[in-house]
Symmetry: C2
Subunit: 458 residues, 2 copies
């Protein structure tokens, strides 16, 4: 059966490329109000493609911001159900002058298609739709039950989909979710991402004097909220990268010995990582953990920016009345975001310098997520990838967060397969974003094989 | 002789007020390019008034930005020379909606004249010119030699006058400078300011990664220059307000016992200072020093602002490539700014966290200044104030810096008498700035008496 799918994809490469180009030409930039119509147009395009692929009950669902697109095919009795997720919105394209060819005029060079959204996530999301189309064309039916939920707000926070998933858990009920919005660990190396860090993002606001003060007149006796914030934030993490909030590490589950051993086998050049990716003179953090552990399975504390006082060119001798820091913790399994927030709140109470008051505002909180590698769907997905790419699939984690994965776990109680066909150098959110065409075609085959084999496996 | 001066001032109060109003009507806002013509017009007005008062060699001196006005009268052979300084430029008037009457339409209410620049510094600067006029009218001559140097850039940094003073030390040569650009310690309390803190203002720039990084992908292994800056700045001052830079206090000269005793006698309500001026829940700083000591005679370290990373509304999980803090030290006699900069540079080298690089940029450096209270001119000035205001003159200091005082000391080798007729609630740089008319008239008398008595004293 699988060979027929592969032949179909090869035979239709040109059309599959042209149809992807048509989607990439729609500048569906979700954050810019002037592109609202384009976002709507992209939703319609996706809905039309879902219908053309053979899916049913296609629906464009209006939300407070940008529409969701739903579709399903539910006639494989006794077979499992996969919920396919992707997003059709894209990041802004600026700085435009750094693009070699226009961001919404897709061009193929060197076996790669260059356009905003090519990898993130239009090209990868399309992989799922085209896999359905191939199965329908080859077999006239589907080997499993399928639901699709495609959103248009991923690049702006995705609030509508979270609300929708929470409120329509019955409709979305499935055995597993499939998301292709990540990257392979290296070119040609099939990869399933089985762990994500969580995130608690907060604002820490310090206040002191009732108005901005002149540091000449009041300096020495008046509290400085900006310096108070420096003193407070300094207490959160020590020089060794260890977080000093009481109880912070209590629930951290370390990776298994087997997982650590598999990471040790991954091609990883710490020197190239430091020099070419980070671009710093040295790496920092917990020395008793490898670099991959530090970014995948260790929690962190970061300060992202501090507002308040004077930052324009020149000098102003102000003691600001207020200073606000943006900070975050990355969390790992099984740290509970609410527990961490509470522990941080207590830490602030215990460490706020005299003369200032501190208010904590939580802007977002999601836990870390792990998918068990012995889950049948993961096993089948790994095999499908191995079959197409010709190498054993590696299991990696990501240091970032993908909120929808947490939503699916929380509201639907299902794990998510993160089957990425992107590559580390695809330039997501950057000029000259690209998607490897070989991975596009192989992705379609892989997803179709996964559907076939997952249907057989149960 | 003095009584005749006082009679002249009383007899001409109305005209003296109208002439001040005419100057206050010129919106000579030095920082706003659209007011460049007004600044020029104010310079011309001042020049005309200097000439009318009886001064000679009146000259409007073009500079790279706004003109200086020079004048002199040098016929008192064997008598000392006083260099009178003031500025005719003003701060912007915004927020306009908070003014009860328009900022450049001077109005008298309750014995005070309300207008931008009324106290800072047009009204006070005018006091000197009108004292000359009174002396000339009453005696037909001057009791001492006089030089005037009035600038139009005080509110924008005053670079031109520093250059001029350095390059024209011979022309400006004098025994003492007289500046009326400060406040009396309290209403009705004659005050001479005999000490100013110095200032070293710097930018501390921390760099780490070669580009902004995603804290999910790199957090835990990549250095964060913003957190590095927090760690570094935290080491500069401890919780007790003590600066931890090696050698920082080596050259600090503490106030004499007599000076401290005189401060202890000043009316000072620490609770009202905290509540009504600072507006904080408590004061901070070195507990073994009084509040007045902390703001007048103790050096400080302040952070004024930190640029870098993300500070807009919402969340962005960035590890910034760069972060820059604006910081300053207030210095007291006899701390040398260059020594302090060097000590801070060494402190940075010793305390820069691993993985980041720090660059220090000095934006300005001036030493603290003290005038000896036993200087003959100070003694005469104190007596002149006491005669007019009917109370013993108090000697205070200011925690701020007045760069021109340092310039006069450095390039001319002369002390400066800071004889202020402003009041603490004049609202300098704020809406509804005002100047007490009683102080305006008494100021004219005081300055004239000072000139007379200083001529007699030598």
């Amino acid at each position: 059966m699988s060979a027929a799918i592969d032949e179909f994809v090869h035979a239709h490469e040109e059309r599959l490329l042209e149809e992807l180009k048509a989607l990439l030409r729609i500048p569906s930039v979700s954050t810019l109000p002037e592109h609202k119509g384009d976002v709507q147009r992209a939703a319609q395009f996706v809905a039309d493609q879902l219908r053309a692929a053979g899916l049913e009950n296609v629906e464009i669902i209006a939300t407070e911001r940008h529409p969701l697109v739903y579709a399903d095919w539910l006639h494989a009795k006794g077979k499992p159900t996969v919920l396919c997720y992707g997003h059709y919105d894209v990041q802004p394209a600026d700085p435009l002058e750094e693009w070699h060819t226009p961001p919404f005029d897709p061009v193929v060079r060197d076996g790669k298609i260059f356009a905003r959204g090519s990898a993130d996530d239009k090209g990868q999301m399309y992989t799922h739709i085209k896999a359905v189309e191939a199965l329908k064309a080859v077999h006239g039916t589907m080997p499993i039950n399928l639901k699709f939920l495609i959103e248009g707000e991923e690049e702006v926070g995705g609030l509508s989909i979270t609300k929708y998933v929470e409120e329509h858990a019955d409709r979305l009920n499935a055995d597993v979710a499939l998301v292709s919005d990540t990257s392979m660990y290296a070119p040609g190396l099939p990869t399933l991402n089985v762990g994500l860090r969580g995130l608690v993002y907060m604002e820490v606001e310090a206040t002191g004097p009732s108005r901005d003060l002149h540091s000449g007149v009041y300096g020495g006796a008046a509290p400085n909220p900006l310096f108070g914030l420096i003193q407070l934030l300094n207490t959160v993490k020590n020089k060794k990268g260890r977080i000093k909030v009481d109880g912070f590490y209590d629930d951290v589950v370390s990776p298994s010995k087997a997982e650590l051993e598999s990471w040790a086998k991954l091609p990883f050049d710490a020197r190239a990582f430091r020099r070419d990716e980070v671009g710093s003179k040295r790496l920092t953090g917990e020395r008793n953990h490898t670099v991959l552990e530090r970014v995948w399975s260790r929690p962190t504390f970061e300060v992202h920016g501090i507002a308040g006082g004077f930052t324009a060119p020149g000098s102003k001798t102000v003691i600001p009345a207020k200073a606000t820091a943006k900070v975050s913790f990355r969390l790992v399994p099984d740290q509970d975001p609410e527990d961490i927030i509470e522990a941080f709140r207590e830490h602030i109470e215990d460490h706020t310098p005299k003369g200032i008051q501190v208010e904590l505002r939580v802007l977002g909180a999601s836990p870390g997520v792990m998918v068990k590698t012995d889950h049948p769907a993961i096993q089948v997905a790994a095999k499908a990838m191995e079959d197409i790419f010709g190498k054993p699939t590696v299991f990696t984690r990501s240091g970032g967060s993908i909120p929808i994965v947490g939503d699916f776990a929380k509201f639907l109680g299902i794990p998510t397969i993160l089957m990425g066909f992107g590559l580390p150098d695809d330039g997501l959110h950057s000029p000259n974003e690209k998607y490897d065409l070989g991975n596009y075609y192989k992705g379609i085959m892989t997803v179709a094989h996964f559907f076939e084999q997952y249907g057989d496996a149960v």
